[in-house]
Amino acid sequence: MNIFSQKNDRKRTFLFITIPILALFVCFNTIPLIRGVIYSFTNFRGFGSYDWVGFRNYADLFTDARVGKSYLFTIKLAIVTTIVVNIISLILALGLNSKIRAKGFFRGAYFLPNILGSLVVGYIFNYFFTYIVPALADMVGLQSTSILASPSKAWIGIMIVCSWQAIAMNTIIYISGLQTVPEDVYEAGGLDGATGWKQFRHLTFPLIIPFFSINMVLSVKNFLMVFDQIMALTKGGPAQSTESISYLIYNNGMAGGQFGFQSANAVVFFIVIVAISVAQMKFSGSKEEQL
């Protein structure tokens, strides 16, 4: 009898916890998601009345040059930044994990960029790119215009700022990966003549592949959603050359009267994010199994 009522109490408590929390989640995640999908089939401008337009927004998306450009820019930025960040982070992590003095200090200092707000970091670098870098370039006799003002080079500025902050995060994850590699693996490898690059390629790296996957997933997802850095550095310019997908959706959807059209864009973006995340997890999952 007693056990029976306690089981009931347990069940009731679990339901009592789940229902309000689930309701909150549905209210501010599921419902807006559904509403977003619904808006994507309308010509809603963000206010006033609207009509159903079926799949016209989606058809228009694929012919809209500005949208296409923003996807190309965002994907290019995400790929290049992910590669740059992961190479530098791995090298830095190997350095920070070697037998050095003041290890704690170095790790703490190298992580610093990650805790700073990316909008303010963006504003600070904006000034550097606009005034200090050209002054330095001028001194050594190079051309002295801001890279942010050039449609073909502005993305490099954004890549640098994204990297500056992301390297801190990825490095710390690689360090925690390197710490899981036991010392005797290196000793055994050393006997077989595995040192330097060989040691890294055949011993260290295979052992930290799970951490490599975490960093890949984190990097790609974060860079695809880049927003603050664009806001602070270029506002999508010059000549719309640095409009990220998130920035375009915000800019044209919230203020530009394209609520319905940008909703369709957001739905496509959502599908792209899910597809990439699932593909990455499948890929890294199969890699880990091979080991």
Partner: protein
């Protein structure tokens, strides 16, 4: 013997490279500090002028920046939002994580788990426009609405962390309390909640950092409320700084100081929390 000397040499090289590398972090911060203290008349375009220290270490720029951006009000909003989000997250997400982690055998709860965790894939970009409408309709286009949204946004990640951590906590602990006649609710708060302390620290760190530095959510939700968070104030007052970069940099530095202090004090917990959050 020869081996150890080459190892020492290698470590010295690593040390030198690491110190050189640090300049990429220290240089921008150094520039930020000196520009924030300088006067517009000290801003010259030659390299020695750019790098030199300010003539006087006056706090005038900071005083003016505080006035222009309404610093204390923005700071108060940022603190309020961050602290309440962290407290609510620890309470709500740990309860949810506990419930879902202890009902792995139930189809219903497994569905709820997958349902919530899959929320991780939903980019803010798709929720942004409907949420701006919805919060306005519900009268939540303010700091309170922003907190509610954060509790929902960080739920997938935190619930996953908590229910994962629960695997390490033996059921026997709860059963012992149950034999003593304690209810599930009481057992949770008396036994499970305190045991999950390491996970609370992780959740607090990653949630606090994400919330403190977030621009997009307050930008979209609080746009009409004439309230700012610290990062949002930088965005909204950007035009008022004009070409007075010294004033702007004083404001940037002010907005970075709270998190820098936090980092100096809790560096170890922050590093641990960030790693745990990402790796678990």
């Amino acid at each position: 013997m020869k081996n150890t000397t080459t190892a020492v040499k290698a470590n010295k090289t690593v040390m030198v490279l690491l110190i050189l590398g640090l300049s990429t972090i220290i240089f921008p911060l150094y520039m930020t500090i000196i520009i924030a203290f300088k006067q517009p008349s000290e801003m010259t375009n030659n390299i020695s002028g750019i790098l030199s220290l300010p003539k006087t270490w006056s706090l005038d720029n900071f005083r003016e920046a505080m006035e222009v951006t309404d610093f204390w009000r923005s700071l108060k909003n940022s603190l309020l939002i961050s602290v309440l989000t962290v407290v609510l997250s620890i309470i709500i997400h740990s309860l949810m994580g506990y419930t879902l982690g202890r009902n792995k055998g139930s189809k219903f709860y497994n569905f709820v788990y997958l349902f919530i965790v899959s929320g991780m894939f939903v980019p803010f970009a798709i929720l942004m426009m409907p949420l701006a409408k919805q919060t306005a309709e519900l009268g939540l286009a303010n700091w309170f609405g922003v907190i509610l949204l954060y509790v929902v946004f960080y739920m997938p990640m935190n619930v996953m962390l908590y229910s994962g951590y629960l695997v390490n906590i033996p059921l026997a602990l709860e059963e012992a309390a149950r034999v003593d006649g304690a209810s599930t609710w009481r057992t949770y708060w008396k036994i499970i909640f305190p045991i999950m302390k390491p996970m609370h620290a992780t959740v607090a760190v990653i949630t606090a950092l994400a919330v403190w530095n977030d621009v997009m959510t307050p930008l979209v939700i609080m746009a009409g409320s004439s309230q700012n968070t610290l990062p949002l104030a930088q965005l909204n007052f950007q035009s008022q700084f004009g070409t007075n970069y010294n004033l702007a940099f004083a404001s940037y530095l002010l907005s970075l100081i709270p998190i820098l202090i936090f980092y100096l004090i809790c560096q170890k917990q922050i590093l641990n929390g960030v790693v745990n959050g990402a790796v678990k």
